[in-house]
Symmetry: C2
């Protein structure tokens, strides 16, 4: 029996590939003035009437991060905050006509970047690759480990 070998460096493979893909996506979307977050919000706000909180959950961002993202979309004239018809606390994100057009463009861009990755995978391996990744993401690598201490210490309350 051959000696024990180090396991393949799965961390490097996933970290590096996701990092490079992220820079590529950011660069591609930047050409039409969007960030990945703006694209995400735009697309999901188009699907149906959604409030900021709902969109924040979908995009896995904090509600305060959501505020910044919506500010950017409003400043670019791509979306508007509208009062919710059913909850006067909440604001629905309405995509403008221009926003809808940009969303179509950005979706094409995103699809293009993803297609380029998949085209780089040999035909006969593509299905297995996607199956394995989907399996990991919904199974063994579905849930982040809870860090015993939060990402940041609770802020000093100085009242």
């Amino acid at each position: 029996m051959s000696p024990t070998r180090a396991e393949p460096d799965v961390s490097f493979l996933l970290d590096h590939s996701s990092h490079v893909l992220r820079t590529r996506m950011a660069a591609a979307l930047a050409e039409i003035g969007l960030t990945a977050r703006m694209h995400c919000v735009l697309v999901h706000a188009l699907e149906e009437e959604r409030t900021q909180i709902q969109l924040a959950e979908i995009g896995d961002m904090d509600k305060t991060t959501m505020v910044v993202t919506v500010d950017a979309l409003e400043a670019a004239g791509l979306a508007e905050r509208k009062p919710s018809a059913t909850d006067r606390r909440a604001r629905v994100i309405a995509v403008t006509e221009k926003g809808a057009e940009v969303a179509k463009q950005s979706q094409r861009i995103v699809d293009g970047v993803h297609k380029a990755v998949l085209d780089a995978v040999p035909n006969e391996d593509r299905e297995v690759f996607l199956r394995v990744m989907n399996g990991l993401v919904s199974g063994h690598l579905a849930t982040p480990v809870e860090t015993s201490q939060p990402a940041r210490r609770a802020r000093q309350s100085n009242k």
Copy 2:
């Protein structure tokens, strides 16, 4: 021919899986008081005599980040800065006896976390998965896109 469908969300697959794996690795290494960076430096400093700059390149970190990492290793008694025999500007990172033991432990931890991931991949798919990931990392997703504007604006010089 069926209508065009959105491409699989490769960004999500890679981002999510790498993020979860990263939290898991951080949690596992934290149990012996290491960060991933400390582990990385420890292991590569053990392989052969290396200076901070060389170790920084291997771990893809800034030299100032390297300073912090080596500070942590020294504080934990796992490594020491030694003057280089050939370049009086440079410092070689010497792993202590305790550091070497910890490195063995941390390597076992890292291998264990990686093995758990691969064990979650069906036997018959594992080889293809690794082949594809290695292919992407050394091919289509080898090099990050150069951001036209740097990650951070140049700092104001106030001399």
